[in-house]
């Protein structure tokens, strides 16, 4: 009985994103044809990219970064909190962590620990502001995190100037924080044969974070409280959850994970926060969290899909197709996946209710037949 239920659920959960991807392929094909390009060429070119070891490494590395961002967003989502501020949180966190990491020399593990710790603290602090404002002053976190993103931009620009936390990067007109010495770097892993490029060591941390996220949500009282608050705040309050405190905790946690977003790149390859440090990853995280429905496994698939699209788009240019094609695919996937999930959710509620109704009717009929 329960087996059939869960099978149904699994099937539906997978069907929705697959349908959305197919729909996105159709829309993209239409756009490509309209622009005079061959969609088949485009898709096969991208798939061919998947066979290249160098691109495989890049996909894993991008996905690692995206994974942190999406988990940070998902923690908020699980509680109906929209942390649109992951973007500001990770940039500020990465910049300050880079500055601290470049300023000291410590034994290897300790040094990395310090940098990561600073990043998580800064991320948590920045997100915590939004949490506190919501709880104490009733300010919607949607608006406050958006404002905090802009403020973080200004703050990073202010601090990242020569004379404050920045110096010029050798051999370019770029500026960045003082490079982190080797003791504060995380070595990569050459696990993919055929290329010298290494997979970020931080991919292991991402896996741990995913596991921790799953355990926290599904196996701890804190996670239960968090999910209860997300599904019905009044019911959570009546059950004894201190919702105000949960909001602050959830934002702190979300911000701490957001602090990790910049770490794979900072500790694994760039070793400095410079003007060309990637931006906008927080919004990517929102898209992937939506795609993966806030589940740790779903987010992993979403992050890999997103990374695949991003890292194979350049190969399109060789066929004379704009690489921005993948942006359309990504946009359509996100919009159609949220619609698909909503339809599936409503269908499920109805189906379960009908199932229950039907079974009870049969039960009653059986009893009456016996009597």
């Amino acid at each position: 009985m329960s087996g059939r239920f869960s099978l149904n659920r699994m099937g539906l959960a997978v069907a929705a994103p697959l349908l959305a991807i197919v729909f996105a392929l159709v829309v993209t094909s239409v756009v490509l044809v309209a622009a005079g390009n061959n969609p088949i060429t485009a898709f096969t070119t991208m798939l061919e990219g998947l066979t290249k070891p160098r691109i495989q490494v890049n996909i894993l590395n991008s996905a690692t970064t995206y994974y942190f961002s999406a988990v940070a967003v998902a923690i908020g989502f699980k509680m109906n909190l929209f942390n649109i501020g992951v973007d500001g949180q990770y940039r500020l966190a990465a910049m300050l962590a880079a500055a601290v990491g470049g300023a000291v020399v410590l034994p290897p593990v300790l040094h990395v620990g310090l940098i990561v710790g600073v990043a998580m603290l800064v991320g948590a602090f920045w997100a915590g502001i939004a949490g506190l404002l919501k709880v104490t002053r009733g300010v919607s976190e949607v608006i406050s995190t958006i404002m905090l993103n802009f403020i973080a931009t200004g703050l990073v620009a202010f601090l990242l100037t020569p004379g404050r936390l920045a110096e010029s990067v050798a051999g370019s007109n770029n500026i960045g924080t003082k490079p982190i010495p080797e003791s504060g770097q995380v070595p990569g892993m050459a696990i993919i044969p055929g290329t010298k490029n290494e997979v970020y060591g931080f991919i292991l941390v991402a896996a741990l974070v995913g596991l921790g996220y799953w355990f926290l949500l599904n196996r701890t009282r804190f996670g239960f409280d968090l999910r209860a608050t997300g599904s019905s705040e009044p019911a959570a309050v009546a059950s004894g959850v201190n919702v105000g405190r949960m909001v602050v905790y959830a934002m702190l946690l979300s911000g701490a994970v957001a602090g990790l977003v910049g770490m794979p790149q900072l500790l694994g390859s760039s070793h400095t926060y410079s003007l060309d440090f990637p931006t906008g990853l927080g919004f990517t995280g929102i898209a992937i969290a939506l795609l993966g429905r806030n589940s740790p496994i779903g987010i992993a698939f979403g992050a890999l899909l997103w990374a695949f699209l991003d890292n194979t788009s350049n190969s399109l240019e060789f066929q004379g197709i704009p690489k921005q094609t993948v942006l359309i695919m990504q946009g359509v996937i996100v919009l159609s996946v949220v619609i698909a999930y909503e339809l599936v959710r409503r269908y499920r509620i109805r189906a379960v209710a009908q199932d229950v109704g039907r079974q009870l009717v049969t039960e009653v009929a059986e009893k009456e037949a016996v009597a």
Binding site: G138, I143, F150, F158, F283, I286, V334, E342, L343
Partner: protein, 422 residues
């Protein structure tokens, strides 16, 4: 009643009845505006920063307010019908692209039309997702923002690359649209403004600012604000639309087609965002550039919340953003002088709160005032990056001081599911 079965234990008093204070709104606004001008004038005299009320600053502030106000107006239409629209940013981006694409080929007016149409299409998408499919409104909005960025970048690469003056991230130049100057008044006011007289020159500066080289789109935007107020609060159509945001199921029982009104409102919302985008592309830059909106859709939303979901309030909010932005762009220590003004305003607000016996908020306000004053007194200038964040910090401050007085439409953000009324 038999007193032996039910024993009264308390005397029953009539409850006190609250009465609403009637007040002439127009007079109050005029009064507020004069106080503000007086303060500005005082600060100008003290600091010697003429840019605070110069015609140039006022004109720049007006221009910078327009896109924010239009995004906010879009938010107003949508949220008054009960649909939160965080996708304004994306709709605005669609507007900028439409303005650039049509504008360079067929002139600025065509650009304006296409921008509004593109924005409206974005709104339509949001309506389909949130009204027809009842997707979470914030989720849909975020998705539309992502889609709009992708779509416009793709289209720009397809359509502008290889065109003379264009590129993957920008359109060729658009012809100027032209603007209006009120002949006599503009010059006369400018003359008085330069004299540096207390109050009079400031007023003249404001007048000169709003009568010199005002773009057609600015005028259109002002008409849109006034027109929206009239439509939403003075017509049957507006009452129905607002009822969808307050009590959609009740409206449905009276035969109001809730989905229809929500669709209209959200599409209009997109159209206004597109109009705001058109201003950026056609008037402010005369070119489409990737990332041109720089988050103004979000700021518009903030301005609307700041303005308590009212057209006048959102105009004031947009004006605040535009003004601080203008001061920061024009430099000359204007933002530094603004610190003094902020500290005076905070003291005033703090005292008002204390009089109202809101001790804690009042104290916080005054402590903040002292902090801002100390900052003003101990520095000579404000770094440009810090000046950049001023409007955002101001929004956060205002929201955290006043959010409990704000009242959003009762059913705002809640999906409307036909047939699920209780």
């Amino acid at each position: 009643m038999s007193a032996d079965t039910v024993t009264p234990t308390e005397a029953v008093a009539e409850p006190p009845r609250a009465r609403r204070l009637p007040a002439s709104k127009g007079l109050r606004l005029l009064y507020l505006a004069s106080v503000l001008l007086l303060l500005l004038s005082t600060v100008r005299i003290i600091t010697g920063v003429t840019n605070l009320t110069s015609a140039g600053t006022v004109a720049a502030a007006l221009g910078l307010s327009v896109p924010i106000a239009m995004a906010g107006l879009g938010g107003l239409w949508s949220e008054r019908s009960g649909v939160v629209n965080i996708g304004l940013e994306g709709m605005m981006i669609l507007g900028t692209f439409g303005a650039g694409w049509a504008g360079y080929q067929w002139g600025p007016w065509a650009g304006l039309g296409v921008a509004i149409a593109f924005g409206a299409l974005g709104g339509l998408l949001h309506a389909v997702a949130t009204v027809t499919f009842a997707v979470d409104q914030i989720v849909s909005g975020v998705a539309i923002n992502i889609l709009a960025v992708g779509l416009t970048q793709f289209l720009a690469a397809e359509l502008f690359q290889g065109v003379p003056g264009g590129g993957a991230t920008q359109s060729p130049r658009i012809d100027t649209m032209g603007s209006i100057t009120l002949p006599g008044i503009s010059d006369a006011a400018e003359g008085v403004a330069d004299k540096g007289w207390f109050l009079i020159s400031d007023l003249a500066g404001v007048i000169a600012g709003i009568t010199t080289n005002v773009s057609y789109i600015t005028i259109l935007a002002i008409l849109a604000l006034i027109g929206s107020f009239f439509v939403l609060w003075r017509t049957a159509f507006g009452l129905r639309l607002r009822s969808c945001g307050e009590a959609p199921y009740a409206a449905a029982t009276l035969g109001v087609n809730v989905r229809k009104y929500k669709y209209i409102a959200v599409v209009m919302s997109g159209a206004f965002a597109g109009l705001g985008g058109a201003y950026l592309t056609i008037v402010a830059a005369q070119i489409y550039r990737e990332g041109q909106t720089a988050g103004r859709g979000y700021i518009g939303l903030a301005a609307m919340i700041f303005g308590n979901w009212r057209p006048g309030g959102l105009a004031a909010g947009a004006g605040l953003f535009g003004y601080t932005d203008a001061l920061q762009l024009r430099g000359g220590g204007a933002v530094h002088a603004l610190l003094l003004l902020t500290s005076i305003l905070l003291v005033g607000y703090g005292i008002w709160l204390l009089v109202k016996r809101k001790t804690i908020s009042g104290a916080i306000s005054i402590v903040m005032a002292l902090g801002v004053f100390a900052w003003y007194a101990t520095t000579d200038d404000v770094a440009p990056q810090v000046a950049f964040v001023t409007p955002y910090v101001a929004t956060l401050l205002v929201l955290s001081l006043a959010s409990q007085r704000l009242r959003m439409p009762a059913a705002d953000g809640k999906p409307y599911l036909k047939g699920e009324e209780h």
